[in-house]
C-alpha cells in the first residue's frame, strides 16, 4: 500500500465568521472554502488535476447548500477518480475525514486527496444550538429529556476525577491557562489575550465544576489539508510530514455504559493509543508533541493520561507543573486547544493536524517546539467512547 504524506494545510483563523440571517452581505460557505482550497493547493505545489478525492466534514444543518461535497466538486470543477463524500461523527468528524482521505491515497485510488470542510454555527445562539446537539450526545428518549447537555458528560468526568484523585479545580483549569499561552503565539487562534487562573475560576459557571473558560467557545472555521503519495510530496519540493501510524477503537458505548465501569479511564483512547504505538513501533515517551481533541480542560488531562503521555491520576498536577506547556516535557495542544485556538467542532481534528504539520515542518514560528519530529493526534466520539489516533513524523 502507498505511503501517505501530509503535504499542505491551510485554514482561516478560527473565530466568529457565520453571518446573521439578516446581514446584507452573507458569508457563503463555498466562497470561504474555495479560497482555502486554492491556498492549500498553491502551498502543496500540486495542480488541481492531480487531486483525485475530496473528503468533507459535513457542514452543520445551518449551512444552506446541501450535498455540499458534490456541489463543491462542481464549483471547483474538480474531476475525481476517488471518493467525493461527506462524513459525520461528532468530534471525530474531522478525524474520520483525515483517515478516509489517507485511505484513498493508501489504496492507490488517487495520489492527492483533500481533507476539508467548513463549520459555520456562531450566528446561532448556544442555547438554540444545544436544542439540537443535546440529541446527539445522549439517548433522545431516555437521556435528553433529563436535560443533559453535550459538555455535561465531561463535567461529570471532572467531578469523578476530583473525587478519585484529589485533583483540585485549579489544577484542572490550569489546562486553560496553558492553552491560552499557546494560543497567544498562534495567528489562527480565536482567543489571544493574556489570561490567568483567577480569570478561569472567576468566569461564569457553565457545568459544575467547569466555568466558561474551561469549556469550548463557539467557533467557525474552514480548513483544507492536502494528503499525497510520497512520490507527489517529493516532487513538490515543499516541506511535508509522513503518516507513521494509526489506531482506532469504539468501546460500544454512547456517553455512559449500561453497567458500572471506570468512566474516566477513557479506555477507548487507551486502546486506540496502544494500537497506534504498535502500528508505529513507538512508545509514549517518543512522542514530541500531541494535539488532542479536548473540548473541556478535564478532557485534555484524561485523554493524555489514557495515551500514556501523563501519569494516570496525576495529569492535572503535571499540567499545573508545566509538563505540557511549550518548553515542557511533552507540549500538548500548542495550537491553543479547543478553549483558546477555538473549537469549530466538526473541523477541530483537521485544525489539530494542521498544527502538527506546522510544528513538524518547523513552520510554527514563535510557538515552534524545538526538534519536534513525532506528533500524535487523537479525537473522539461521545465521552471518549471511541478514539481515533494518528502519528505524523517529519519527512
Amino acid at each position: 500500500m502507498n505511503e501517505v504524506t501530509l503535504l499542505a494545510a491551510s485554514a482561516v483563523p478560527v473565530g466568529k465568521i457565520q453571518s446573521r440571517p439578516e446581514a446584507p452581505d452573507q458569508i457563503l460557505e463555498h466562497e470561504l472554502l474555495s479560497e482555502v482550497v486554492r491556498q492549500s493547493l498553491a502551498q502543496a505545489n500540486v495542480s488541481k488535476t492531480e487531486v483525485g478525492a475530496m473528503i468533507f466534514a459535513e457542514p452543520h444543518i445551518y449551512t444552506k447548500q446541501k450535498y455540499f461535497a458534490t456541489f463543491m466538486a462542481g464549483y471547483l470543477g474538480m474531476k475525481c477518480e476517488g471518493a467525493v463524500m461527506e462524513i459525520l461523527g461528532n468530534g471525530m468528524t474531522g478525524g474520520l475525514v483525515f483517515d478516509r482521505a489517507v485511505d484513498e491515497v493508501r489504496l492507490g485510488r488517487t495520489e492527492v486527496a483533500l481533507a476539508l470542510g467548513v463549520n459555520l454555527e456562531t450566528a446561532v445562539p448556544a442555547t438554540e444550538h444545544m436544542n439540537y446537539t443535546m440529541r446527539a450526545t445522549g439517548d433522545v428518549d431516555f437521556q435528553a429529556p433529563a436535560g443533559f447537555t453535550p459538555i455535561s458528560w465531561y463535567a461529570m468526568d471532572a467531578v469523578r476525577y476530583m473525587h478519585e484523585t484529589g485533583a483540585t479545580r485549579e489544577q484542572i483549569s490550569s489546562v486553560a491557562v496553558k492553552n491560552r499561552k499557546h494560543a497567544m503565539l498562534n495567528p489562527l487562534a480565536q482567543f489571544r489575550k493574556p489570561m490567568t487562573i483567577e480569570d478561569v475560576l472567576a468566569s461564569k459557571p457553565i457545568v459544575h465544576p467547569l466555568s466558561l473558560l474551561d469549556v469550548p467557545p463557539r467557533s467557525d472555521g474552514a480548513v483544507c489539508l492536502v494528503l499525497a503519495s510520497r512520490r507527489v510530496a517529493e516532487q513538490s519540493g515543499q516541506p511535508y510530514v509522513v503518516l507513521r501510524g494509526r489506531g482506532s477503537y469504539h468501546e460500544g458505548v454512547h456517553q455512559i455504559a449500561d453497567a458500572p465501569a471506570d468512566m474516566i479511564a477513557f479506555d477507548a483512547a487507551r486502546r486506540a493509543g496502544k494500537a497506534l504505538y504498535d502500528d508505529a513501533g513507538l512508545t509514549p515517551d517518543q512522542i514530541d508533541i500531541a494535539e488532542v481533541y479536548a473540548p473541556c480542560t478535564i478532557v485534555e488531562i484524561l485523554v493524555a493520561e489514557a495515551l500514556g503521555l501523563l501519569e494516570k491520576g496525576k495529569g492535572a498536577e503535571q499540567t499545573e507543573a508545566g509538563e505540557t506547556t511549550l518548553g515542557g516535557r511533552i507540549p500538548i495542544n500548542t495550537s491553543g486547544g479547543c478553549q483558546s485556538r477555538g473549537h469549530p467542532a466538526r473541523l477541530t481534528p483537521l485544525y489539530n493536524a494542521l498544527e502538527l504539520y506546522q510544528q513538524l515542518t518547523s513552520q510554527a514560528g514563535p510557538r515552534q517546539v524545538d526538534g519536534a519530529r513525532i506528533g500524535l493526534m487523537c479525537c473522539e466520539l461521545g465521552n471518549y467512547n471511541a478514539a481515533l489516533t494518528h502519528v505524523l513524523e517529519t519527512a
Binding site: P125, A126, T127, E128, M130, N131, M134, G138, D139, V140, D141, F142, Q143, A144, P145, A146, G147, F148, T149, S152, A155, M156, D157, A158, V159, R160, H163, K204, P205, I206, V207, H208, P209, G252, Q255, I256, A257, D258, A259, P260, A261, M263
Partner: protein
C-alpha cells in the same frame, strides 16, 4: 416501586417518544413501576430497555421491575442549558449505579449543596403537567447523618 413523586412546573421540555415496545416502560413510570429488560437467554439486564439483547443479540427479553435504588457515580449542575430547559436552570444531572449492575443517567432532584459522589439515591417520578419522567432523589435515611 417508585415511592417518590416530584411535582414539576409546566410541560416536559423534551418529552420522550413512546414506541410499541417502550410503552411498557413509560406506562410503568406513570403507574409507579421502574422496569427494564433482561435477556432470557443470557440473563443480561440492560438500561434503557431494549427489544434485543446487546450482550448476545438475541430477541428474547422480558420486562422486570428493578429496585430504583442506587448511588451517585458522578454528577454535575447545569447552568447553561438548551433554551427549552432554560427555565429549569440550574439543575443537577448525574450518573447512578444500581445494585442490578445498571448505570443510569438521569436528573437528580437533590439540593445542590447536598450533592456528593456515592450518595444513595432512589428513583422518583417527575410529575409534569403533560406527563411523567423519571429522576432520582436522595434516599430516605441518608439525610440524617
Amino acid at each position: 416501586m417508585i415511592e417518590h413523586v416530584i411535582p414539576m412546573t409546566g410541560n416536559r421540555p423534551y418529552p420522550p417518544r413512546t414506541s410499541g415496545f417502550t410503552k411498557t416502560f413509560w406506562d410503568g413510570i406513570a403507574e409507579g413501576r421502574f422496569q427494564t429488560t433482561t435477556c432470557t437467554d443470557c440473563q443480561k439486564t440492560t438500561f434503557p430497555p431494549k427489544p434485543i439483547c446487546p450482550a448476545c443479540m438475541g430477541a428474547n427479553v422480558e420486562w422486570k421491575e428493578i429496585s430504583g435504588r442506587g448511588t451517585i457515580y458522578s454528577y454535575t449542575i447545569i447552568h447553561a442549558a438548551p433554551s427549552i430547559f432554560a427555565h429549569e436552570t440550574p439543575y443537577a444531572v448525574g450518573i447512578v449505579d444500581t445494585p442490578e449492575r445498571l448505570r443510569i443517567g438521569a436528573r437528580l432532584l437533590i439540593p445542590q449543596e447536598r450533592l456528593q459522589v456515592s450518595m444513595p439515591v432512589a428513583v422518583g417520578r417527575m410529575e409534569y403537567e403533560d406527563g411523567p419522567f423519571f429522576g432520582f432523589v436522595e434516599a430516605e435515611g441518608h439525610g440524617t447523618k
